[in-house]
Protein backbone atom coordinates (compact mmCIF):
# COMPACT_ATOMS: atom_id res chain seq x y z
CA UNK A 1 0.00 0.00 0.00
CA UNK A 2 3.01 2.27 0.25
CA UNK A 3 4.61 1.45 -3.10
CA UNK A 4 5.63 4.60 -4.90
CA UNK A 5 4.86 3.46 -8.45
CA UNK A 6 1.39 4.09 -9.80
CA UNK A 7 0.23 0.66 -10.93
CA UNK A 8 1.08 -1.30 -7.80
CA UNK A 9 -0.54 1.43 -5.74
CA UNK A 10 -3.72 0.78 -7.67
CA UNK A 11 -3.32 -2.94 -7.06
CA UNK A 12 -2.84 -2.24 -3.40
CA UNK A 13 -6.16 -0.39 -3.30
CA UNK A 14 -8.04 -3.17 -4.97
CA UNK A 15 -6.44 -6.29 -3.53
CA UNK A 16 -8.32 -8.26 -0.90
CA UNK A 17 -6.55 -8.19 2.40
CA UNK A 18 -5.75 -11.48 4.15
CA UNK A 19 -7.75 -10.43 7.17
CA UNK A 20 -10.79 -10.02 4.95
CA UNK A 21 -10.26 -13.43 3.47
CA UNK A 22 -10.14 -15.02 6.88
CA UNK A 23 -13.28 -13.34 8.02
CA UNK A 24 -15.01 -14.41 4.86
CA UNK A 25 -14.04 -18.07 5.34
CA UNK A 26 -15.09 -17.97 8.95
CA UNK A 27 -18.49 -16.57 8.11
CA UNK A 28 -19.05 -19.03 5.32
CA UNK A 29 -18.02 -21.88 7.54
CA UNK A 30 -20.32 -20.97 10.38
CA UNK A 31 -23.33 -20.53 8.12
CA UNK A 32 -22.69 -23.84 6.46
CA UNK A 33 -22.37 -25.50 9.85
CA UNK A 34 -25.66 -23.98 10.99
CA UNK A 35 -27.38 -25.25 7.88
CA UNK A 36 -26.06 -28.74 8.36
CA UNK A 37 -27.12 -28.78 11.99
CA UNK A 38 -30.60 -27.72 10.99
CA UNK A 39 -30.78 -30.39 8.37
CA UNK A 40 -29.82 -33.22 10.68
CA UNK A 41 -33.16 -33.66 12.47
CA UNK A 42 -35.01 -33.32 9.19
CA UNK A 43 -32.98 -36.05 7.58
CA UNK A 44 -33.30 -38.25 10.62
CA UNK A 45 -37.07 -37.89 10.71
CA UNK A 46 -37.44 -38.82 7.09
CA UNK A 47 -35.04 -41.69 7.52
CA UNK A 48 -36.88 -43.15 10.49
CA UNK A 49 -40.24 -42.67 8.88
CA UNK A 50 -39.16 -44.56 5.85
CA UNK A 51 -37.35 -47.17 7.81
CA UNK A 52 -40.15 -47.94 10.20
CA UNK A 53 -43.17 -47.02 8.15
CA UNK A 54 -42.58 -48.47 4.73
CA UNK A 55 -42.70 -51.93 6.14
CA UNK A 56 -46.33 -51.55 7.10
CA UNK A 57 -47.50 -50.45 3.72
CA UNK A 58 -49.46 -52.98 1.77
CA UNK A 59 -52.67 -53.04 -0.14
CA UNK A 60 -54.64 -54.20 2.87
CA UNK A 61 -53.07 -51.44 4.91
CA UNK A 62 -54.99 -48.93 2.90
CA UNK A 63 -58.16 -50.84 2.32
CA UNK A 64 -59.11 -52.25 5.69
CA UNK A 65 -60.25 -50.57 8.83
CA UNK A 66 -58.37 -51.00 12.05
CA UNK A 67 -59.97 -53.86 13.91
CA UNK A 68 -59.20 -52.70 17.39
CA UNK A 69 -57.58 -56.03 17.99
CA UNK A 70 -54.39 -55.43 19.82
CA UNK A 71 -53.86 -58.54 21.87
CA UNK A 72 -54.19 -61.57 19.78
CA UNK A 73 -51.36 -62.07 17.42
CA UNK A 74 -53.25 -64.48 15.28
CA UNK A 75 -55.96 -62.07 14.18
CA UNK A 76 -55.21 -59.23 11.90
CA UNK A 77 -55.01 -55.74 13.27
CA UNK A 78 -56.34 -54.14 10.17
CA UNK A 79 -55.22 -51.13 8.19
CA UNK A 80 -55.96 -47.45 8.40
CA UNK A 81 -58.70 -46.97 5.85
CA UNK A 82 -61.10 -45.24 8.18
CA UNK A 83 -58.37 -42.95 9.39
CA UNK A 84 -57.45 -41.83 5.89
CA UNK A 85 -61.06 -41.29 4.91
CA UNK A 86 -61.79 -39.50 8.13
CA UNK A 87 -58.89 -37.13 7.70
CA UNK A 88 -59.92 -36.41 4.16
CA UNK A 89 -63.52 -35.70 5.07
CA UNK A 90 -62.83 -33.62 8.12
CA UNK A 91 -60.12 -31.56 6.47
CA UNK A 92 -62.25 -31.10 3.35
CA UNK A 93 -65.15 -29.75 5.38
CA UNK A 94 -62.85 -27.48 7.34
CA UNK A 95 -61.32 -26.14 4.14
CA UNK A 96 -64.64 -25.54 2.48
CA UNK A 97 -65.62 -23.34 5.39
CA UNK A 98 -62.29 -21.70 6.23
CA UNK A 99 -61.02 -20.87 2.78
CA UNK A 100 -63.87 -18.69 1.43
CA UNK A 101 -64.31 -16.94 4.75
CA UNK A 102 -60.58 -16.45 5.17
CA UNK A 103 -60.11 -15.04 1.69
CA UNK A 104 -63.14 -12.84 2.17
CA UNK A 105 -61.69 -11.37 5.35
CA UNK A 106 -58.35 -10.81 3.65
CA UNK A 107 -60.03 -9.07 0.72
CA UNK A 108 -61.92 -6.82 3.11
CA UNK A 109 -58.77 -6.00 5.03
CA UNK A 110 -56.78 -5.08 1.95
CA UNK A 111 -59.38 -3.47 -0.27
CA UNK A 112 -61.84 -1.85 2.10
CA UNK A 113 -60.59 -1.77 5.64
CA UNK A 114 -57.09 -0.68 4.80
CA UNK A 115 -55.89 1.69 7.46
CA UNK A 116 -59.01 2.03 9.56
CA UNK A 117 -58.85 1.32 13.28
CA UNK A 118 -61.24 -1.56 12.85
CA UNK A 119 -58.99 -3.19 10.28
CA UNK A 120 -56.03 -2.78 12.59
CA UNK A 121 -58.00 -4.43 15.38
CA UNK A 122 -58.96 -7.34 13.15
CA UNK A 123 -55.38 -7.82 12.06
CA UNK A 124 -54.22 -7.81 15.63
CA UNK A 125 -56.60 -10.51 16.64
CA UNK A 126 -55.81 -12.62 13.60
CA UNK A 127 -52.17 -12.44 14.54
CA UNK A 128 -53.01 -13.50 18.07
CA UNK A 129 -55.04 -16.43 16.83
CA UNK A 130 -52.21 -17.76 14.70
CA UNK A 131 -50.25 -18.26 17.88
CA UNK A 132 -52.99 -19.97 19.87
CA UNK A 133 -52.18 -23.64 20.55
CA UNK A 134 -54.32 -25.95 18.49
CA UNK A 135 -55.67 -27.75 21.53
CA UNK A 136 -57.42 -24.60 22.61
CA UNK A 137 -59.53 -24.66 19.49
CA UNK A 138 -60.44 -28.22 20.20
CA UNK A 139 -61.38 -27.36 23.77
CA UNK A 140 -63.46 -24.45 22.62
CA UNK A 141 -65.51 -26.60 20.30
CA UNK A 142 -65.70 -29.26 22.99
CA UNK A 143 -67.13 -26.84 25.47
CA UNK A 144 -69.50 -25.15 23.08
CA UNK A 145 -70.70 -27.98 20.90
CA UNK A 146 -70.31 -31.03 23.10
CA UNK A 147 -70.64 -30.08 26.72
CA UNK A 148 -72.76 -27.10 25.99
CA UNK A 149 -75.28 -28.93 23.85
CA UNK A 150 -75.03 -32.14 25.74
CA UNK A 151 -74.26 -34.05 22.58
CA UNK A 152 -71.33 -36.13 21.66
CA UNK A 153 -68.37 -36.30 19.37
CA UNK A 154 -68.92 -35.88 15.70
CA UNK A 155 -66.86 -35.51 12.59
CA UNK A 156 -68.20 -32.10 11.76
CA UNK A 157 -67.33 -30.78 15.15
CA UNK A 158 -63.78 -31.81 14.50
CA UNK A 159 -64.00 -29.99 11.21
CA UNK A 160 -65.13 -26.85 13.00
CA UNK A 161 -62.15 -27.01 15.29
CA UNK A 162 -59.87 -27.30 12.32
CA UNK A 163 -61.66 -24.42 10.66
CA UNK A 164 -60.83 -22.20 13.57
CA UNK A 165 -57.27 -23.34 13.32
CA UNK A 166 -57.04 -22.68 9.59
CA UNK A 167 -58.78 -19.33 9.47
CA UNK A 168 -56.00 -17.10 10.81
CA UNK A 169 -53.44 -18.83 8.63
CA UNK A 170 -55.54 -18.42 5.49
CA UNK A 171 -56.31 -14.80 6.30
CA UNK A 172 -52.68 -13.99 6.96
CA UNK A 173 -51.27 -15.56 3.83
CA UNK A 174 -54.06 -14.29 1.59
CA UNK A 175 -53.56 -10.77 2.93
CA UNK A 176 -49.85 -10.90 2.20
CA UNK A 177 -50.45 -12.01 -1.36
CA UNK A 178 -53.17 -9.44 -1.97
CA UNK A 179 -50.89 -6.68 -0.75
CA UNK A 180 -48.34 -7.81 -3.30
CA UNK A 181 -50.69 -7.04 -6.16
CA UNK A 182 -49.42 -3.71 -7.50
CA UNK A 183 -51.69 -0.77 -6.83
CA UNK A 184 -51.17 0.28 -10.43
CA UNK A 185 -53.29 -2.64 -11.59
CA UNK A 186 -56.19 -1.61 -9.43
CA UNK A 187 -55.77 1.96 -10.62
CA UNK A 188 -55.87 1.02 -14.28
CA UNK A 189 -58.93 -1.12 -13.79
CA UNK A 190 -60.72 1.62 -11.85
CA UNK A 191 -59.72 4.17 -14.48
CA UNK A 192 -61.36 2.03 -17.14
CA UNK A 193 -64.65 2.54 -15.39
CA UNK A 194 -64.99 -0.72 -13.49
CA UNK A 195 -66.84 -0.79 -10.19
CA UNK A 196 -64.65 -1.70 -7.25
CA UNK A 197 -66.07 -5.15 -6.66
CA UNK A 198 -65.46 -5.93 -10.31
CA UNK A 199 -61.87 -4.83 -9.99
CA UNK A 200 -61.40 -7.18 -7.06
CA UNK A 201 -62.98 -10.18 -8.69
CA UNK A 202 -61.71 -9.81 -12.21
CA UNK A 203 -58.28 -8.31 -11.71
CA UNK A 204 -56.98 -8.51 -8.16
CA UNK A 205 -58.02 -12.03 -7.23
CA UNK A 206 -56.89 -13.67 -10.48
CA UNK A 207 -53.55 -11.95 -10.17
CA UNK A 208 -53.15 -13.05 -6.57
CA UNK A 209 -54.43 -16.55 -7.27
CA UNK A 210 -51.16 -18.50 -7.44
CA UNK A 211 -49.94 -17.08 -4.16
CA UNK A 212 -53.27 -17.65 -2.48
CA UNK A 213 -53.51 -21.23 -3.66
CA UNK A 214 -50.11 -21.89 -2.17
CA UNK A 215 -51.12 -20.32 1.11
CA UNK A 216 -54.37 -22.25 1.25
CA UNK A 217 -52.75 -25.57 0.47
CA UNK A 218 -50.19 -25.02 3.17
CA UNK A 219 -52.91 -24.20 5.65
CA UNK A 220 -54.71 -27.39 4.70
CA UNK A 221 -51.53 -29.38 5.07
CA UNK A 222 -51.05 -28.05 8.53
CA UNK A 223 -54.61 -28.71 9.60
CA UNK A 224 -54.40 -32.26 8.33
CA UNK A 225 -51.67 -33.03 10.79
CA UNK A 226 -53.27 -31.69 13.96
CA UNK A 227 -54.15 -34.19 16.62
CA UNK A 228 -55.20 -32.24 19.66
CA UNK A 229 -58.26 -30.48 18.29
CA UNK A 230 -59.67 -33.73 17.04
CA UNK A 231 -59.28 -35.60 20.28
CA UNK A 232 -62.21 -33.99 22.01
CA UNK A 233 -64.28 -33.18 19.01
CA UNK A 234 -64.33 -35.83 16.39
CA UNK A 235 -63.62 -38.53 18.78
CA UNK A 236 -62.15 -41.79 17.65
CA UNK A 237 -63.65 -44.79 16.09
CA UNK A 238 -62.55 -47.77 14.16
CA UNK A 239 -65.14 -48.15 11.54
CA UNK A 240 -65.26 -46.08 8.48
CA UNK A 241 -68.08 -43.66 8.86
CA UNK A 242 -69.06 -41.47 6.00
CA UNK A 243 -71.53 -39.44 7.97
CA UNK A 244 -69.93 -36.42 9.49
CA UNK A 245 -72.51 -36.41 12.22
CA UNK A 246 -71.03 -39.38 13.96
CA UNK A 247 -67.76 -40.32 15.48
CA UNK A 248 -65.01 -40.16 12.97
CA UNK A 249 -61.53 -41.57 12.84
CA UNK A 250 -58.58 -39.55 11.64
CA UNK A 251 -54.94 -40.24 10.97
CA UNK A 252 -53.45 -38.16 13.78
CA UNK A 253 -55.83 -39.69 16.30
CA UNK A 254 -55.12 -43.16 15.01
CA UNK A 255 -51.41 -42.61 15.27
CA UNK A 256 -51.84 -41.28 18.77
CA UNK A 257 -53.70 -44.31 19.94
CA UNK A 258 -51.48 -46.81 18.16
CA UNK A 259 -48.10 -45.51 19.08
CA UNK A 260 -48.44 -46.30 22.77
CA UNK A 261 -49.58 -49.82 22.20
CA UNK A 262 -47.36 -52.63 23.51
CA UNK A 263 -48.09 -54.74 20.46
CA UNK A 264 -45.28 -54.35 18.02
CA UNK A 265 -47.39 -54.63 14.88
CA UNK A 266 -49.74 -51.97 16.10
CA UNK A 267 -46.82 -49.71 16.78
CA UNK A 268 -45.64 -50.42 13.27
CA UNK A 269 -49.00 -49.41 11.96
CA UNK A 270 -48.54 -46.08 13.66
CA UNK A 271 -45.35 -45.52 11.77
CA UNK A 272 -47.06 -46.51 8.56
CA UNK A 273 -49.85 -44.08 9.26
CA UNK A 274 -47.37 -41.34 10.06
CA UNK A 275 -45.59 -41.98 6.79
CA UNK A 276 -48.94 -41.85 5.00
CA UNK A 277 -49.76 -38.54 6.57
CA UNK A 278 -46.38 -37.08 5.65
CA UNK A 279 -46.76 -38.32 2.09
CA UNK A 280 -50.21 -36.75 1.84
CA UNK A 281 -48.82 -33.45 3.03
CA UNK A 282 -45.91 -33.79 0.65
CA UNK A 283 -48.30 -34.25 -2.24
CA UNK A 284 -50.23 -31.18 -1.22
CA UNK A 285 -47.01 -29.19 -1.12
CA UNK A 286 -46.03 -30.39 -4.58
CA UNK A 287 -49.40 -29.36 -5.95
CA UNK A 288 -48.92 -25.95 -4.37
CA UNK A 289 -45.58 -25.55 -6.07
CA UNK A 290 -46.87 -26.55 -9.46
CA UNK A 291 -49.77 -24.13 -9.22
CA UNK A 292 -47.46 -21.33 -8.14
CA UNK A 293 -45.14 -21.90 -11.03
CA UNK A 294 -47.85 -21.96 -13.68
CA UNK A 295 -49.11 -18.42 -13.58
CA UNK A 296 -46.69 -16.03 -12.01
CA UNK A 297 -47.14 -12.39 -11.39
CA UNK A 298 -45.34 -10.81 -14.34
Amino acid sequence: MSAPSGSSDLLGRFAVSPARRRKDSLARGSILAATLIALVPLVLIIYYLLLKGLGSWSSSFFTTDPTGNTFFKSSSIGGIKSAILGTVEIVALASVIAVPIGIGVAVWLVEYGRDSWFAHTVRFFVDVLTGVPSIVFGLFIYIVLIVGTGSTYAGYKGAFALTLLMLPVVIRSAEVVLLLVPGALRESALALGAPRWRVIFSIVLPTALPGMVTGVLLAIARAAGETAPLLFTAGATLKTSFGLGSFMNSLPVQIYSDVTSPTASVEHRAWGAALTLVVMILILNLIARVVARRSRLA
Binding site: R114, D115, P182, A184, L185, E187, S188, A189, L190, A191, L192, G193, A194, P195, R198, V199, S202, I203, P206, T207, L209, S295, L297, A298
Partner: protein
Protein backbone atom coordinates in the same frame (compact mmCIF):
# COMPACT_ATOMS: atom_id res chain seq x y z
CA UNK B 1 -62.49 -18.88 -34.84
CA UNK B 2 -64.13 -16.41 -37.18
CA UNK B 3 -61.85 -13.94 -38.90
CA UNK B 4 -62.28 -10.41 -37.61
CA UNK B 5 -64.71 -8.29 -39.54
CA UNK B 6 -63.02 -5.33 -41.14
CA UNK B 7 -64.36 -2.45 -39.16
CA UNK B 8 -63.97 1.25 -39.42
CA UNK B 9 -65.09 3.06 -36.36
CA UNK B 10 -65.64 1.47 -33.03
CA UNK B 11 -68.82 3.48 -33.11
CA UNK B 12 -70.25 1.89 -36.20
CA UNK B 13 -68.69 -1.53 -35.86
CA UNK B 14 -72.08 -2.98 -35.29
CA UNK B 15 -74.81 -0.40 -34.92
CA UNK B 16 -77.37 -2.90 -33.79
CA UNK B 17 -75.22 -4.35 -31.08
CA UNK B 18 -74.35 -0.87 -30.04
CA UNK B 19 -77.94 0.13 -29.51
CA UNK B 20 -78.33 -3.13 -27.63
CA UNK B 21 -75.58 -2.02 -25.36
CA UNK B 22 -77.15 1.33 -24.80
CA UNK B 23 -80.36 -0.17 -23.56
CA UNK B 24 -78.86 -3.06 -21.60
CA UNK B 25 -79.43 -2.35 -17.97
CA UNK B 26 -76.27 -4.14 -17.00
CA UNK B 27 -73.80 -1.92 -18.76
CA UNK B 28 -72.69 1.34 -17.23
CA UNK B 29 -74.63 4.11 -18.93
CA UNK B 30 -72.87 6.49 -21.28
CA UNK B 31 -72.27 9.87 -19.81
CA UNK B 32 -72.39 11.81 -23.04
CA UNK B 33 -74.60 10.59 -25.90
CA UNK B 34 -72.45 9.38 -28.77
CA UNK B 35 -72.51 11.33 -32.03
CA UNK B 36 -74.04 9.74 -35.09
CA UNK B 37 -71.45 7.47 -36.64
CA UNK B 38 -69.89 8.97 -39.72
CA UNK B 39 -69.84 6.92 -42.88
CA UNK B 40 -66.22 6.77 -43.88
CA UNK B 41 -64.49 4.22 -46.04
CA UNK B 42 -62.08 1.70 -44.58
CA UNK B 43 -58.55 2.92 -44.15
CA UNK B 44 -55.31 1.17 -43.22
CA UNK B 45 -55.46 2.54 -39.71
CA UNK B 46 -59.12 1.85 -39.39
CA UNK B 47 -60.90 3.75 -36.72
CA UNK B 48 -59.45 7.21 -37.05
CA UNK B 49 -61.92 9.47 -38.67
CA UNK B 50 -62.88 12.53 -36.71
CA UNK B 51 -65.43 12.64 -34.02
CA UNK B 52 -66.79 15.76 -32.43
CA UNK B 53 -65.03 15.98 -29.11
CA UNK B 54 -66.17 17.28 -25.78
CA UNK B 55 -64.67 20.14 -23.87
CA UNK B 56 -63.55 19.79 -20.29
CA UNK B 57 -63.71 22.80 -18.04
CA UNK B 58 -62.36 23.04 -14.51
CA UNK B 59 -64.10 25.61 -12.36
CA UNK B 60 -62.46 26.60 -9.10
CA UNK B 61 -61.09 23.12 -8.66
CA UNK B 62 -59.48 22.44 -5.32
CA UNK B 63 -57.92 19.15 -4.28
CA UNK B 64 -56.92 18.07 -0.81
CA UNK B 65 -54.88 15.29 0.73
CA UNK B 66 -56.38 15.35 4.19
CA UNK B 67 -55.89 18.93 5.29
CA UNK B 68 -53.18 19.79 2.78
CA UNK B 69 -54.40 21.69 -0.26
CA UNK B 70 -52.56 20.57 -3.37
CA UNK B 71 -54.64 22.24 -6.08
CA UNK B 72 -55.77 25.72 -5.11
CA UNK B 73 -58.68 27.08 -7.06
CA UNK B 74 -57.98 26.23 -10.67
CA UNK B 75 -59.93 27.52 -13.66
CA UNK B 76 -58.89 25.86 -16.87
CA UNK B 77 -60.47 24.76 -20.10
CA UNK B 78 -59.45 21.91 -22.37
CA UNK B 79 -60.78 22.48 -25.83
CA UNK B 80 -62.40 19.66 -27.80
CA UNK B 81 -60.27 17.67 -30.19
CA UNK B 82 -57.15 19.43 -29.00
CA UNK B 83 -54.12 18.32 -27.06
CA UNK B 84 -53.45 20.39 -23.98
CA UNK B 85 -50.18 19.90 -22.12
CA UNK B 86 -49.72 20.67 -18.47
CA UNK B 87 -46.20 21.61 -17.46
CA UNK B 88 -44.73 22.68 -14.18
CA UNK B 89 -42.13 21.74 -11.60
CA UNK B 90 -42.46 18.61 -9.45
CA UNK B 91 -45.09 18.96 -6.81
CA UNK B 92 -46.99 21.75 -8.51
CA UNK B 93 -50.15 19.67 -8.49
CA UNK B 94 -50.46 18.80 -12.15
CA UNK B 95 -50.92 15.05 -11.62
CA UNK B 96 -53.35 15.68 -8.79
CA UNK B 97 -55.35 18.03 -10.96
CA UNK B 98 -55.56 15.55 -13.78
CA UNK B 99 -56.69 12.81 -11.45
CA UNK B 100 -59.55 14.99 -10.33
CA UNK B 101 -60.88 15.08 -13.85
CA UNK B 102 -61.79 11.39 -13.92
CA UNK B 103 -62.40 11.31 -10.19
CA UNK B 104 -59.49 8.99 -9.46
CA UNK B 105 -58.22 11.40 -6.85
CA UNK B 106 -60.90 10.41 -4.40
CA UNK B 107 -59.77 6.78 -4.47
CA UNK B 108 -56.85 7.76 -2.27
CA UNK B 109 -57.81 7.46 1.41
CA UNK B 110 -58.30 10.89 2.89
CA UNK B 111 -58.31 12.69 -0.43
CA UNK B 112 -61.13 14.89 -1.65
CA UNK B 113 -61.89 17.49 -4.26
CA UNK B 114 -64.08 20.58 -4.42
CA UNK B 115 -65.29 22.63 -7.31
CA UNK B 116 -66.69 21.62 -10.64
CA UNK B 117 -65.37 19.64 -13.55
CA UNK B 118 -67.60 20.20 -16.52
CA UNK B 119 -67.77 17.69 -19.33
CA UNK B 120 -69.58 19.86 -21.85
CA UNK B 121 -72.63 20.75 -19.75
CA UNK B 122 -72.37 18.04 -17.14
CA UNK B 123 -70.70 18.48 -13.79
CA UNK B 124 -68.76 15.32 -13.15
CA UNK B 125 -68.88 15.90 -9.41
CA UNK B 126 -72.61 16.29 -9.29
CA UNK B 127 -74.12 14.02 -6.65
CA UNK B 128 -76.36 12.27 -9.15
CA UNK B 129 -73.50 11.26 -11.40
CA UNK B 130 -72.15 7.70 -11.33
CA UNK B 131 -68.40 7.72 -10.83
CA UNK B 132 -68.02 4.60 -12.89
CA UNK B 133 -69.70 6.20 -15.89
CA UNK B 134 -67.38 9.20 -15.58
CA UNK B 135 -64.39 6.96 -15.81
CA UNK B 136 -65.73 5.23 -18.86
CA UNK B 137 -66.04 8.53 -20.64
CA UNK B 138 -62.67 9.78 -19.46
CA UNK B 139 -59.85 7.31 -20.02
CA UNK B 140 -56.45 7.39 -18.40
CA UNK B 141 -52.98 6.27 -19.37
CA UNK B 142 -50.38 6.07 -16.65
CA UNK B 143 -46.69 6.72 -16.42
CA UNK B 144 -45.62 3.12 -16.11
CA UNK B 145 -47.17 0.82 -18.72
CA UNK B 146 -49.30 -1.66 -16.79
CA UNK B 147 -51.08 -4.27 -18.87
CA UNK B 148 -52.92 -6.81 -16.74
CA UNK B 149 -50.33 -9.52 -16.19
CA UNK B 150 -52.64 -12.51 -16.17
CA UNK B 151 -54.24 -11.61 -19.48
CA UNK B 152 -53.32 -12.01 -23.12
CA UNK B 153 -53.04 -9.07 -25.51
CA UNK B 154 -56.57 -9.66 -26.70
CA UNK B 155 -57.96 -9.98 -23.20
CA UNK B 156 -56.17 -6.85 -22.11
CA UNK B 157 -57.80 -4.76 -24.79
CA UNK B 158 -61.15 -6.41 -24.18
CA UNK B 159 -60.85 -6.01 -20.42
CA UNK B 160 -62.28 -2.53 -20.41
CA UNK B 161 -65.34 -3.75 -22.24
CA UNK B 162 -65.72 -6.78 -20.03
CA UNK B 163 -65.20 -4.92 -16.79
CA UNK B 164 -67.89 -2.44 -17.72
CA UNK B 165 -70.28 -5.14 -18.86
CA UNK B 166 -70.28 -4.20 -22.48
CA UNK B 167 -69.92 -7.69 -23.74
CA UNK B 168 -72.45 -7.55 -26.51
CA UNK B 169 -71.66 -7.02 -30.11
CA UNK B 170 -68.53 -7.75 -32.01
CA UNK B 171 -65.89 -7.98 -29.33
CA UNK B 172 -63.19 -9.09 -31.73
CA UNK B 173 -64.00 -6.26 -34.05
CA UNK B 174 -63.80 -3.70 -31.29
CA UNK B 175 -60.50 -5.08 -30.06
CA UNK B 176 -59.06 -4.91 -33.53
CA UNK B 177 -60.33 -1.39 -34.04
CA UNK B 178 -58.81 -0.27 -30.76
CA UNK B 179 -55.48 -1.90 -31.60
CA UNK B 180 -55.49 -0.24 -35.00
CA UNK B 181 -56.23 3.13 -33.45
CA UNK B 182 -53.30 2.65 -31.12
CA UNK B 183 -51.05 1.79 -34.02
CA UNK B 184 -50.37 -1.64 -32.59
CA UNK B 185 -52.40 -3.96 -34.79
CA UNK B 186 -49.63 -4.64 -37.26
CA UNK B 187 -47.27 -5.68 -34.50
CA UNK B 188 -49.54 -7.94 -32.49
CA UNK B 189 -52.16 -9.28 -34.87
CA UNK B 190 -50.38 -12.61 -34.94
CA UNK B 191 -49.93 -12.86 -31.20
CA UNK B 192 -53.19 -11.83 -29.69
CA UNK B 193 -53.14 -14.75 -27.30
CA UNK B 194 -49.72 -14.12 -25.89
CA UNK B 195 -49.40 -12.49 -22.50
CA UNK B 196 -49.66 -8.73 -22.61
CA UNK B 197 -46.66 -8.39 -20.37
CA UNK B 198 -44.44 -9.99 -23.00
CA UNK B 199 -44.40 -6.90 -25.22
CA UNK B 200 -41.72 -4.24 -25.20
CA UNK B 201 -42.19 -1.13 -23.06
CA UNK B 202 -43.40 1.04 -25.91
CA UNK B 203 -45.74 -1.65 -27.12
CA UNK B 204 -47.11 -2.17 -23.64
CA UNK B 205 -47.92 1.48 -23.36
CA UNK B 206 -49.70 1.43 -26.70
CA UNK B 207 -51.53 -1.63 -25.48
CA UNK B 208 -52.72 0.37 -22.49
CA UNK B 209 -53.81 3.12 -24.85
CA UNK B 210 -55.73 0.57 -26.93
CA UNK B 211 -57.31 -0.73 -23.73
CA UNK B 212 -58.54 2.77 -22.93
CA UNK B 213 -59.70 3.36 -26.48
CA UNK B 214 -61.75 0.19 -26.56
CA UNK B 215 -64.38 1.64 -24.25
CA UNK B 216 -64.74 4.62 -26.59
CA UNK B 217 -64.01 7.50 -24.26
CA UNK B 218 -64.53 11.15 -25.00
CA UNK B 219 -61.40 12.34 -23.24
CA UNK B 220 -58.07 10.69 -22.59
CA UNK B 221 -55.85 11.82 -19.75
CA UNK B 222 -52.18 10.98 -19.96
CA UNK B 223 -49.94 11.25 -16.94
CA UNK B 224 -46.35 11.41 -18.22
CA UNK B 225 -47.02 8.51 -20.59
CA UNK B 226 -43.56 8.42 -22.13
CA UNK B 227 -41.28 9.00 -19.19
CA UNK B 228 -40.54 5.30 -18.82
CA UNK B 229 -39.93 4.74 -22.53
CA UNK B 230 -36.98 5.01 -24.88
CA UNK B 231 -36.87 7.86 -27.44
CA UNK B 232 -38.15 5.87 -30.39
CA UNK B 233 -41.11 4.49 -28.46
CA UNK B 234 -41.76 8.02 -27.23
CA UNK B 235 -41.88 9.41 -30.72
CA UNK B 236 -44.30 6.72 -31.84
CA UNK B 237 -46.64 7.59 -29.05
CA UNK B 238 -46.36 11.28 -29.82
CA UNK B 239 -47.37 10.59 -33.40
CA UNK B 240 -50.23 8.52 -32.09
CA UNK B 241 -51.40 11.40 -29.94
CA UNK B 242 -51.45 13.66 -32.97
CA UNK B 243 -53.79 11.24 -34.70
CA UNK B 244 -55.95 10.43 -31.69
CA UNK B 245 -56.93 14.02 -31.07
CA UNK B 246 -59.22 13.85 -34.06
CA UNK B 247 -61.42 11.55 -31.99
CA UNK B 248 -60.85 12.54 -28.40
CA UNK B 249 -59.81 15.48 -26.33
CA UNK B 250 -56.40 14.85 -24.84
CA UNK B 251 -54.80 16.21 -21.70
CA UNK B 252 -51.18 15.29 -21.21
CA UNK B 253 -49.09 15.95 -18.12
CA UNK B 254 -45.43 16.07 -18.91
CA UNK B 255 -42.24 17.23 -17.31
CA UNK B 256 -40.54 17.13 -20.67
CA UNK B 257 -41.03 20.54 -22.21
CA UNK B 258 -39.77 19.50 -25.58
CA UNK B 259 -42.52 16.94 -25.67
CA UNK B 260 -45.12 19.51 -24.75
CA UNK B 261 -43.75 21.71 -27.50
CA UNK B 262 -43.93 18.91 -30.05
CA UNK B 263 -47.29 17.48 -29.22
CA UNK B 264 -49.63 20.04 -27.68
CA UNK B 265 -51.89 22.63 -29.25
CA UNK B 266 -52.16 24.51 -26.00
CA UNK B 267 -49.94 24.48 -22.95
CA UNK B 268 -50.76 25.35 -19.37
CA UNK B 269 -48.12 26.15 -16.79
CA UNK B 270 -48.85 25.35 -13.16
CA UNK B 271 -46.98 26.41 -10.08
CA UNK B 272 -47.77 25.61 -6.45
CA UNK B 273 -51.24 24.35 -7.22
CA UNK B 274 -52.22 27.39 -9.24
CA UNK B 275 -52.46 28.12 -12.93
CA UNK B 276 -49.88 30.69 -13.98
CA UNK B 277 -50.49 30.89 -17.69
CA UNK B 278 -52.21 29.03 -20.48
CA UNK B 279 -52.10 29.67 -24.20
CA UNK B 280 -51.18 28.33 -27.62
CA UNK B 281 -48.05 26.25 -27.29
CA UNK B 282 -46.21 28.35 -29.80
CA UNK B 283 -46.74 31.46 -27.74
CA UNK B 284 -45.76 29.85 -24.47
CA UNK B 285 -42.49 28.76 -25.98
CA UNK B 286 -41.63 31.83 -28.04
CA UNK B 287 -43.16 34.71 -26.12
CA UNK B 288 -44.85 33.88 -22.83
CA UNK B 289 -46.66 36.61 -20.95
CA UNK B 290 -45.72 35.79 -17.40
CA UNK B 291 -42.11 36.09 -16.33
CA UNK B 292 -42.45 32.95 -14.22
CA UNK B 293 -43.42 31.00 -17.31
CA UNK B 294 -40.44 32.48 -19.12
CA UNK B 295 -38.12 31.45 -16.34
CA UNK B 296 -39.50 27.95 -16.19
CA UNK B 297 -39.45 27.15 -19.89
CA UNK B 298 -35.97 28.58 -20.38
CA UNK B 299 -34.75 26.45 -17.55
CA UNK B 300 -33.67 29.22 -15.24
CA UNK B 301 -35.86 27.55 -12.68
CA UNK B 302 -35.74 23.80 -12.27
Amino acid sequence: MTSPRPTTNVADADPEARSELESSSESTPRLVPPPAPASVPDSERGALESKRGVSVRLEQLRAFYGAAEQVKGLDLEFRPNEVTAIIGPSGCGKSTMVRCINRMHEEIPGARAEGRVMLDDLDVYDSSVDVVAVRRAIGMVFQKPNPFPTMSVFDNVASGLRLTSQRGGDLRGKVEAALRSAGLWGEVSDRLDEPGAGLSGGQQQRLCIARSLAVDPEVILMDEPCSALDPIATLKIEELIAELKRRVTIVIVTHNMQQAARVADRTAFMLDGKLVEVGPTQEIFTNPNDSRTEEYVTGKFG
